[in-house]
Amino acid sequence: MDLFHNLIFGFGVALSWQNMLYCLLGVSVGTLIGVLPGIGPLATIAMLLPITFNVAPVGALIMLAGIYYGAQYGGSTTAILVNLPGETSSVVTCIDGYQMARQGRAGPALAIAAIGSFVAGTFGTLLIAVAGPPLAEIALKFGAPEYFSLMLMGLIAAAVLAQGDMGKSLAMVAMGLLLGIVGTDVNTGVQRFSFGITELSDGIGFIVVAVGVFAIGEIVSNLGDSERRTVFADKVTHLYPTRDDLKRSAGPIARGTLLGSFFGVLPGTGPSIASFASYMVEKKLAKDPSRFGRGAIEGVAAPESANNADAQCKFIPMLTLGLPASSVMALMLGALTIQGIQPGPDVMTTRPDLFWGLVASMWIGNALLVVLNLPMIGLWVKLLKVPYRLLFPAIMAFSAIGIYSVNNSSLEIYLTAIFGVIGFLWIRLGCSPAPMLLGFVLGPMMEEHLRRAMLMSKGDPSVFITRPISLLFIIATVGILIAMILPAARRRHADISG
């Protein structure tokens, strides 16, 4: 029993008191930012990077992972109580969760969300443990053409599945790839797009782009819109779901978990897609679909399980292939690189403590979230009353310290300011920045693999379709594109003729 052995080893790492502390810290901070709208896991992880410099890699990763999946739990709390999704993945939970709260059933809604998330988290963790090692083994056989095709598939999928206009998202991927080129060319030593600025010879810092576009651009955008909140918190009296609630939720939780795990492994699909898809499935399967939207507990159980399963499974491509499937994962890759660990398929063999420790800690973290969160709902609700005008200067302060501390460079602060403005423009123009960030991270790697593949094949581009694994990725890429373009074209056609 290799798996059993590895898991015991992992728990040994995760249960050390330091790592338990980092896990607890991570999930608490994660829940906090999940509850607070307007601040997501991405900005938080960027802010906390300076703290992770002083922590061992295992502890750092455990904490960052905790923030990420903790945010999914927290997001549901606000969705149910305030009808305000703390995270984008909780948008669907608002529909029935808030209705339940209005009927005085906020307690069972919150409890089912927590139970569903826990089941999904446990399943996701197991999936990583079971599927991770064989996947990494396959990945070790990848050559340059396979990596290029895989990255191409990831980027196209990310763009196509992102919210909003597909053409814009694809263009944003190209934009990210271009931004990733800035700096010294590894093969020739030529400085590209660096305008003679020495700090740019290492490229634009990942955190600079992430914080600029996601944190600052977001704040500028939020300040333009006014807010309004009504809390139904006083009505949280009894937490326990009835036997009927549990019976109704079992199926949705199982299906949501499976759907979420499936979407989780796909690159580019955020947890919002998983939760939305599972909600639609439950509505289709329900005997009485009219209950949905009026406080059906299935409408809380399914999406909440799906988004947590998705969040967990996003770790699979990151840990086994070294490829980020979402922008948060890209940031975690960045954190690992800063720690001096080159993410990829060999992490599992060279740093087994990192892989198995993280896997075990995720299960512990999920358990902690259930135990901690339900009794602390009152506290989270109080935090919701902190007005945004006090919140965002704090975000600005911690972000700025975080960026400055990476290289002690004020130039990076100025660049962040510029990216903040650009990010705001992108938001207003309806260009979603997440595909850009993936392109930005993958850009240099992709160029490198493309060049190597061309050298290998003596300039023959057919290498991408003559090697079986690479061909598989190319077929999948084309398939995704066709699947998305056809219905859109048909719809447009119908619009014109109708």
């Binding site: 410099f53 263009a171 797009f193 333009g224 819109d225 600005m396 400055y404 300011a417 061309m454 050298l455």
Partner: protein, 150 residues
């Protein structure tokens, strides 16, 4: 149909991509393009710039057809004040020290909101700065002077 360019979302998106792509292509001409077999440093950026221009043209055309409007306000106040506070933070970190840099950043950022109140912002800045000094300078040992020349 009357086209209004000023708030045409896709038109401006397309224009932005065309401008970025074209700039990339022009700048990349300084770098060796190479051949498909041995790609030079100019190969990848030139191709990407070209792709971006193509997407830009497509979006621009789409904008002329659909004429979708840009939604939301421009929040000019925040758009100017927030980046400016960051620039001040950078300058003050280099020349004045951690405490003044952070105080200015926090009060400055707070001023980006239309609900800005000076006393409240000063209180917030003092509290957060004290917290940051304890956490980052004393706790994590980040090597920044609290106040230069003091």
């Amino acid at each position: 149909m009357q086209l209004e360019f000023r708030r045409n979302k896709d038109f401006w998106t397309g224009a932005m991509f065309i401008a970025t792509g074209a700039t990339a292509v022009v700048l990349a001409r300084q770098y060796d393009f190479g051949t498909t077999l041995r790609m030079g440093p100019g190969y990848f950026p030139s191709v990407l710039g070209g792709v971006l221009v193509l997407f830009g043209i497509y979006l621009l055309a789409q904008g002329l057809r659909s004429n979708d409007k840009i939604e939301g306000t421009w929040s000019l106040r925040a758009l100017v004040v927030l980046p400016l506070s960051l620039v001040m933070f950078g300058l003050l970190m280099d020349h004045a020290g951690f405490v003044p840099a952070l105080m200015v950043l926090i009060v400055g950022s707070a001023a980006a909101s239309s609900e800005f109140k000076l006393t409240e912002a000063l209180l917030l800045a003092t509290g957060l700065t004290a917290f940051a000094v304890v956490l980052f300078i004393w706790g994590l040992g980040l090597p920044y002077p609290l106040l230069v020349g003091w």
